[in-house]
Amino acid sequence: MRESVLAYRGARYLWWAVALSAGSIALYCTQGGLQRPNGGSWQGYVLGTVGAALIVWLTLLGVRKRSYRSTLGAVRGWTSAHVYLGMALLVVATLHCAGHFGWNVHTLAYVLMSAVVLSGVAGLYVYFRNPTLIADIRTGGSRAALFAELFELDNQARELAKHCDAVTGSLVKSSIERTTIGGSVLEQLFAADRSRILRIDPNAPNAAAVLVRNTDQQAAINYVSDRLTQAEKRAEPSVLQSLVTVLCRRQVILRSIRRDISLSAWLKIWLDVHVPLTFALLSALTIHILVTFIYW
């Protein structure tokens, strides 16, 4: 499916985009004479009209995707054309404005258009890259399976913690309760880990508990591992050994979950930029055309 979008019908729309770009360049080169190339020459108006029509058509992909009964071509074909012609738009619009930029609504429209196209390119990139990586993480399963295993490991760890000394038990329990996964947009995108543990500080007066970082669950694992070397009761090493094993497995699962969430978030976030900026572009484009004729 992913490959077929670009290779749809022998990359037919790639050649459309190349032809459109070449034609635009040829038209641009006919400018000159009395005026420097600019968006106000007849060539500039043609390029601008083509660019505006392209923007409107590219936006209609969102409508076409929701029109399940439409007979206006396959969505795959639309998407393939959307990708290629969207990139050709960058050429058409740049030639339309002839590289004249300034602090004005016209350049704002160009910047928004570029941002929309670039976010689309970013989306294309993650669509090719991330699904494979996500599949590798899930090893044929699903993210839900990872969470099920995590839930099971949490319960195992809690059960084992009951058989440990009070300090170790509360530390393990807090490491489970204060494990963070996902969260805000940035936390999901960058796989942020703000996990903490409550550790009783033996040096503090009244053995007060302090909240310390437990990034990647390493602090909890280190504590239990250290505790293992100091075990006194006969059964304690066995329990602690099992606990370390569970915590380490938990560490691996948490890494996978966070990476999975991050890759999935990147797979979506570009569209959260692409779509709103498209609306902003439509607004700026309309105003760009309007004010061109207000101050003719």
């Binding site: 600019n38 839900a144 949490d154 996902g182 979506k268 709103p276 101050y295």
Partner: protein, 575 residues
């Protein structure tokens, strides 16, 4: 409070299994998060779903906003709990039971067996859809923001500005609509007032606004001439001078298409106007040069001048204004009324500078004016008197005739000779003449007898005739001999007829051409002006088109300097 939580699960063979745990906390928290006292899984269970707190002598459950809690099958936000009450959250059953001794509250918890462990994911925000991100909301907010800031607010300021009022600089105004910066000169004149040029919406800037400042710029074709052509109405200023599109800071159109679009089709476009066809700057596509030469008006012409004034201020009653007529270089001749040989003056064997005895150079007489294009006019005082003096009697070389005042000169000669013969002792001893050029030999006049007055007059008349026919004035000027018996009425020095500019509608910088390839100074001048071959004042000495083409071309070429039409020609003329 102390709470007993009794988990009830179906074990193997569907036998119920109990698992008790004790909690000591201010409230019992319920949710899918791992830190809840009662952790329940499921899509419909929020991480922090609800809490059970003491309420007087009993307890109450309160659900978070949006969290669904049923108490005895009725959805509630908060509800008091008494023994026997059944709380249902996403299929999980919580039942309040009689608390054993030592406990304030006891609950049996029967998890929903249909809930998979995988639904633990619901305890976390693992999808962007669960965050504040909203494509739709952001899209419409951006749409409105841009519409307001870049259209509605500037439009309001544009209307306000048209009333003469101003708006604070921090408010986005209609300058945000600009298609590009103004050229610096216009930016200084107009500032941020778009309405200075754009008076009306949806209409191009009018010429009237341009002409408010540019009062002296005339059209390329006058209104009267335009009617004789097929060019149609004159184009707006903005068609050629496109503002907001001049990154180099000039609105002057330099492309040849400005000219050749019409002039290449001169036969078709210009109607009855006599305009030569021009397609570019090369042989056969550009007309040969024509110089504007002062030419006598035809007989009976109405161009009869008012009094002409000589450079020295003396009125010349006979003078008339000569019109400048464009004349092909190959046939054109100066009619300057001068007699001058450039060849002789440039010959080092004949003429040397007084200061260093070196041959004369061009710059000894011709000085480029401040504009680099024209020359400071040649005058007797500035250019000739260094070598040439107007002495008329070798016995009194300090006596000089006034230049440009022939009547006074005649009277001076007469006064001198009458005085000389009346009082010979006043005549000084002869000294060697100063000038380097031997004038023609003085004609000896025999006035041997008579009174000092008659001898003086005789000698004066002879000298006047000599000055006006053989030397003196006649050395450089053409003199009209009327043949009158009265010597005072006999001669007229014809006025000098040198134009100020051979090509008044062209730009040509002599200063820029002072160095040509390897040529400098006189060599550069003489490569165009064949002064070494000129023995007459009538010689034009102007280079033809071919000379320009030795170095210039109308297109980019490696061995040529490219010139445009407007490099030499002016489009607009000053009024």
């Amino acid at each position: 409070m102390q709470a007993l939580l009794r988990y009830l699960r179906q074990g193997r063979d569907r036998i119920a299994e109990y698992s008790d745990s004790e909690v000591s906390a201010a409230s019992i928290t319920v949710g899918s998060a791992a830190d809840r006292h009662i952790q329940l899984l499921g899509h419909d269970v929020a991480p922090k779903h609800a809490a059970i707190r003491p309420a007087g002598d009993s307890f109450a459950i309160s659900a978070r906003r949006g969290a669904r809690v049923l108490v005895n099958a009725a959805p509630v936000r908060t509800a008091r709990l008494t023994v026997g009450d059944k709380v249902e959250i996403a299929g999980h059953q919580l039942t309040v039971i009689e608390a054993p001794a030592g406990f304030d509250l006891a609950l049996t918890i029967q998890p929903n067996e249909k809930t998979a462990k995988s639904e633990f994911e619901g305890a976390f925000k693992t999808d962007l859809d669960q965050t504040l991100l909203s494509k739709r909301r952001t899209a419409w907010n951006l749409f409105l923001l841009i519409s307001v800031l870049t259209l509605l607010v500037p439009l309001a300021t544009a209307v306000v500005h048209r009333t003469g009022a101003t708006t604070p600089a921090w408010i986005p105004d209609d300058t945000f609509w600009t298609a590009g910066p103004l050229i610096p000169a216009h930016a200084q004149a107009v500032g941020r007032r778009c309405e200075a040029c754009h008076l009306s919406f949806f209409a191009p800037a009018r010429d009237r606004e341009c002409r408010q400042c540019h009062t002296k710029t005339a059209d390329h074709v006058s209104v009267a001439d335009l009617k004789l052509t097929r060019l149609g109405p004159a184009a707006r200023c903005g068609v050629c001078h496109e503002e907001h599109n001049a990154p180099d800071g000039t609105l002057v159109v330099r492309d040849d298409s400005l000219c050749v679009t019409c002039h290449d089709a001169a036969h078709d476009k210009f109607g009855t106007l006599q305009v030569e066809k021009v397609s570019g700057f090369a042989r056969s596509i550009h007309p040969l040069f024509k110089a504007s030469l002062l030419t006598p008006p035809p007989r009976g012409s109405a161009i009869v001048a008012p009094l002409k004034v000589t450079p020295t201020g003396e009125p010349l009653a006979a003078a008339v204004n000569w019109p400048a007529v464009r004349t092909p270089l190959r046939t054109g001749q100066e009619q300057s009324h001068l007699s001058f040989s450039h060849k002789e003056h440039l010959d080092g064997n004949l003429v040397q500078r007084l200061s260093d005895s070196a041959p004369l150079g061009c710059e000894d007489c011709h000085t480029v004016a401040a504009d680099g294009e024209h020359f400071i006019p040649i005058t007797m005082a500035r250019s000739c008197s260094g070598c040439h003096v107007l002495a008329f009697d070798d016995e009194a070389p300090e006596r000089q005739l006034p230049h440009g005042k022939p009547r006074e000169a005649m009277l001076m000669i007469e006064d001198y000779y009458v005085a000389k013969y009346s009082n010979p002792g006043r005549v000084t001893a002869p000294v060697a003449p100063r000038q380097r050029i031997p004038d023609r030999p003085v004609t000896t006049v025999a006035c041997p007898s008579g009174t000092p007055l008659t001898r003086g007059r005789c000698q004066a008349n002879a000298e006047i005739v000599d000055q006006f026919t053989r030397r003196g004035c006649a050395s450089c000027h053409l003199v009209s001999d009327q043949g009158s018996g009265d010597v005072h009425e006999r001669f007229d020095v014809l006025p000098v007829r040198l134009g100020r500019d051979y090509f008044p509608d062209l730009h040509f910088s002599h200063r820029q051409h002072a160095v040509q390839k390897q040529l400098t100074r006189d060599a550069a001048c003489l490569s165009c002006h064949k002064a070494r071959d000129s023995i007459r004042s009538s010689d034009l000495m102007l280079p033809e088109l071919d000379k320009c083409l030795e170095c210039h071309s109308d297109h980019a070429a490696r061995d040529r300097v490219q010139v445009r039409c407007v490099s030499c020609h002016a489009y607009h003329f000053e009024r």
